[in-house]
């Protein structure tokens, strides 16, 4: 078997098992740790697809910063004693099962019954090249300078907004 296929199977197994474990754990902090494992497996899958930049972003931003925020929220909220949401609301459970079946059917259809369009297959070599960080940097600093600087302003607005909103206001 090809090394790529073995790696894909291992990473996919880790991703699926960790996501199922994440949903079924009763304790939210343990769920969060499983989510981190899931992010790492996804990042490995991105690498297999030659999307290096996305893989790096997945680890640094999602597994690093976003999960820190998740854990902070969990610590702040103290969700220890809360009951299972499905036990409180039976109708919600039926609704959730219906949505899950619908999404499962959709994914199964996409995987087994629909064929990838030829337009996707014709540019495989180019798309493999375009995932590298150098390629993204080249595009970012030639064609997309304005969106890049706009992203800088967006981050500035986010910084100031977060600080202003978190201030205690008595006056």
């Amino acid at each position: 078997m090809n090394l790529e296929i073995i790696l894909f199977i291992v990473l996919a197994l880790v991703a699926v098992v960790s996501s199922v474990a994440m949903i079924t754990r009763p304790h939210p902090v343990i769920s969060a740790v499983f989510l981190i494992l899931n992010f790492f497996a996804l990042s490995g899958l991105y690498l297999l697809l030659n999307a290096q930049f996305i893989a790096v972003v997945q680890v640094i931003v999602y597994a690093g910063a976003i999960m820190v925020l998740f854990l902070f929220v969990l610590m702040l909220l103290n969700t220890n004693k809360e009951d299972n949401i499905f036990k409180q609301n039976k109708a919600l459970k039926i609704f959730a099962i219906a949505i899950a079946v619908l999404i499962f059917a959709q994914v199964a259809f996409l995987i087994f019954f629909s064929s990838p369009s030829d337009a996707l297959n014709s540019q495989v070599a180019e798309s493999v090249q375009s995932g590298t960080i150098q390629q993204i940097g080249t595009k970012l600093y030639t064609d997309y300078i304005l969106p890049f600087e706009a992203a800088g302003f967006l981050l500035l607005a986010a910084t100031i907004g977060a600080l202003v909103l978190s201030k205690k206001k008595f006056e």
Binding site: Q52, A65, L76, G137, T138, Y141, L155, A158, L163, F170
Partner: protein, 153 residues
């Protein structure tokens, strides 16, 4: 042929295997005599009282939020660091403007005192009015001085 990411993967794999072997070997060798005292959550030698889950300062959350924003900034700087030399001074300038914009955010939070842990005590206006009516703004240093003066007298 290993790519650079392949090397990282081998490194991670070795790290995981190393930890697993160490834990397994320790489990084989060590004696296992658990008692109730030993299984308690460690809390500086004291018996734990109540849940360790306390509501802590919201300011930790603000620090995490700022960390998230600068983390995204770092991610956007990776492509820049790899390619800016190809475009000479112009490429450098693009990244410089980006950094200056985010430096502005940094300057804002520095100026507003969000980087200091002690940000001054915010008191409700009712308390301020009561303190005003007393006409003696109680400062810690002043009261200490008063006490020492009283002791001298």
């Amino acid at each position: 042929m290993l790519t650079e990411f392949g090397k990282i993967f081998v490194f991670i794999l070795l790290a995981v295997v190393f930890v697993l072997i160490a834990l397994f070997a320790a489990k084989l060798i060590r004696p296992s005599r658990p008692t109730k005292e030993k299984m308690l959550i460690y809390e500086c030698g004291e018996n734990p009282v109540g849940s360790p889950w306390i509501k802590f300062n919201i300011r930790f959350y603000v620090v995490a939020l700022i960390f998230l924003i600068f983390d995204v900034e770092v991610v956007l700087l990776f492509p820049w660091a790899l390619t800016y030399q190809d475009y000479g001074f112009y490429g450098f300038l693009v990244g410089l403007v980006f950094l200056l914009v985010l430096g502005l955010g940094m300057a804002y939070e520095w100026r507003k005192g969000d980087l200091d842990w002690e940000r001054g005590i915010i008191s409700p206006p009712i308390l301020n009015e009561i303190l005003k009516n007393k006409k003696a703004p109680l400062k810690i240093n002043d009261s200490e001085n008063q006490i020492t003066e009283e002791i001298k007298a």
